[in-house]
């Protein structure tokens, strides 16, 4: 073998998969019609190059091992389902949240916008998505619109991303940018809804930047239909003394993948990430969360509860990296999985990397069946076995559901989660 051949082999791009070829082809077909206001042409081109460089993910990659990539590959068209605002016919919306302004996006395009949120773009620079967040590049390439929020005071905003029946077989690219000025406070509800009757891709990007002392409480409800392949890619950067609380409920979609990265860049910044995932049938919910402690006295609280019923698969990878620049960091991680179905699977992967001294770190990950002691206690009170099982499943999710402080959001989350657990509904545990 000659030296020239070796050089060629070393510098060659990875072979393109059929899926990547389709993505690039679909992009070329629509590129000229994609609006610059959402993402500039240069940024889209750069995203395309990056995705080509990374390649389409493979199940053999550790980071994508639990993602049902086939569900994403089954989408007929990667081009956006909509490029212009939806027609005037009002979509069916859930009840409004008291005290919240509402923004509605249908198939990734703004349907209605409240006055305050017209603050415009800006504040969040284009994110450089790493390989483990490469689906973010897909959204950068194809996004038709963006919900951009810049908050300097106090606000409460709900952003609804609906996927309409018209999007069936195509793709939607919700995009949300949130910038909180120093001292700003925002309660944000991000909700994904809609149930097209053919395989549909919903690929969302969420970019968050918190200024010094800013506080963001971010409720995330994913309730897409069972023909949806859902991917959300989140990147957050926190300045000094800012706090970011995420309450995430993932119950919908055939396959859902959350790729999140939170950088605690300023001294005293704090993250609280509490999430549940409930899967039935053959649903797959996969979350990869990476938290980077980059400054002193930063804190992370990470709680995950997942229930896999029937043949569902739930995965959560919680990677916490504490840099040498982050003494005094404090992390608590509690990951628990409940396997309810004979063919179900839960995979929890805690990972803690510490590169400095003076760190407090607690972490625990357990997966198993319902606690027999708890079960016997309920049986010994005369509760029948099916009801006891349902109650304990509900209790299992209680840590996270109770952390949702807004009653209206908690009710929505509870009803959504209970909808995945018919036996819970039957015993009236919600009452």
């Amino acid at each position: 073998m000659g030296a020239g051949m070796l050089t060629t082999a070393a510098t060659a791009a990875p072979p393109r998969s059929a899926t990547l070829e389709r993505i690039l082809s679909d992009y070329q077909a629509v590129a000229s019609s994609l609006p610059d206001a959402a993402v500039t042409r240069d940024a889209r081109t750069q995203a395309m190059r990056e995705l080509s460089r990374f390649g389409w993910p493979k199940s053999s990659d550790e980071q994508w091992r639990y993602t049902n990539l086939r569900a994403f590959e089954a989408v007929a068209a990667f081009g956006p389902a909509a490029l212009v605002p939806a027609p005037a016919a009002a979509p069916e919306l859930p009840p409004a949240l008291p005290g919240f302004e509402r923004l509605v996006y249908v198939d990734g395009v703004r349907y209605h916008q409240a006055a305050r949120a017209a603050a415009g773009l800006g504040g969040v620079a284009g994110t450089q998505w790493p390989a483990e967040q490469r689906l973010g590049l897909l959204c950068d390439m194809f996004a038709s619109d963006v919900a951009a929020l810049r908050i300097s005071g106090t606000a409460a905003i709900e952003v609804l991303f609906l996927t309409s029946a018209a999007a069936a077989g195509a793709s939607c690219y919700p995009r949300l940018q949130v910038a909180l000025e120093p001292g700003g406070e925002l309660q944000l509800v991000e909700r994904h809804l809609g149930a097209p009757d053919a395989p549909t891709l919903v690929c969302a990007n969420i970019e968050v930047v918190l200024g010094r002392g800013a506080r963001l409480v971010h409720y995330r409800l994913q309730q897409c239909g069972l023909h949806t392949a859902f991917a959300d890619t989140l990147c957050a950067r926190l300045a000094d003394e800012s706090s970011y609380s995420v309450r995430q409920v993932a119950i919908g979609a055939a396959c859902a993948r959350t790729s999140a990265q939170v950088r605690l860049a300023g001294r005293g910044a704090a993250l609280s990430w509490q999430a549940i995932a409930v899967g039935r049938g053959q649903q797959v919910h996969d979350t990869a969360l990476k938290v980077e402690h980059l400054a002193a006295d930063t804190r992370t609280e990470e709680v995950f509860r997942g229930i896999a019923d029937e043949r569902a698969r739930i995965a959560f990878s919680g990677h916490i990296h504490i840099a040498s620049s982050a003494p005094g960091s404090d992390t608590r991680q509690s990951l628990r999985g409940l396997i309810e179905g004979a063919g179900a699977e839960v995979d929890l992967r805690p990972r803690l990397e510490i590169n400095t001294d003076e760190v407090k770190a607690q972490h625990g990950a357990t997966t198993g069946a319902l606690d027999e002691n708890l079960m016997f206690y309920l049986l010994a009170r005369g509760i029948d076995r099916d009801s006891a099982r349902a109650l304990l499943k509900w209790a299992f999710l209680g840590d996270v559901l109770r952390a949702i402080e807004l009653p209206a959001v908690r009710r929505a989350a509870e009803h959504g989660a209970a909808g995945q657990l018919p036996d819970v509904m039957a015993v009236g545990a919600l009452a």
Partner: protein
Amino acid sequence: MTGTVETGAAASAAAATAAPAALLDIRDLQVKVGGQQVLRGISLTIGAGQVHAIMGPNGSGKSTLAHVLAGRPGYEIVSGSASFEGRDLFALAPEQRARGGLFLGFQYPVEIPGVNNAYLLKAALNAARRERSLAELDAFEFLELVRAKIKLMQIDESFLSRGVNEGFSGGEKKRNEILQMLVLEPKLALLDETDSGLDIDALKVVANGINTLRGPQHAIVLVTHYQRMLDFVVPDFVHVLARGRIVRSGDRTLALELEKRGYDWVSGQAAA
């Protein structure tokens, strides 16, 4: 005597003359846990209206007896029988035993965050009422019933909306157990070391609750290590367990004697 206590060979002779009002009749019960024999032939008859105390050193089988009767999994019944109101107790699932009027007060009540106390109490009560062909209570009727009992047990009403035993102190958990007992009004209450971990004030509250249940329709079995509970809930019968056997039975004076002489006094008889 309605309540009869026999050990060994005396048990079979007494069986023929046991009072028809026997609520629970245990005959030569032998039980293994993890392959180890823990109960080695327990015979005991408990009549309605009676209070029995079962005492014994650690590891004597007291709690095993209570849990086997309540139906906890993990116990192997090697031989013997137990009938509850004439029904084969061991043929019933734990929840059927509970609905039929058998209550186990746990030594270590579990915490179940996410299931609130009011929900559990109401569900348990209505399950028992259905079993007795009584109408279920609605929320208003339930609250009316439970309020008086909460007051008796000196528990704050706000606890109803909290998770079952969630964040409760040891004493609060025990008071909650007795509250559940009072709401459910079981025919037979098996109270497994309900007195453990209680200070004297809490002990009095718990004892007062237990005495409230006392009556001709209800039997109570106090499983305890110490005599002090029996100062407040005076038993009709006292049994001493050692190494899986009832080695001595008597009236309340037996507990006082044990207090003076210690369990070594009876342990020798078990070894014999």
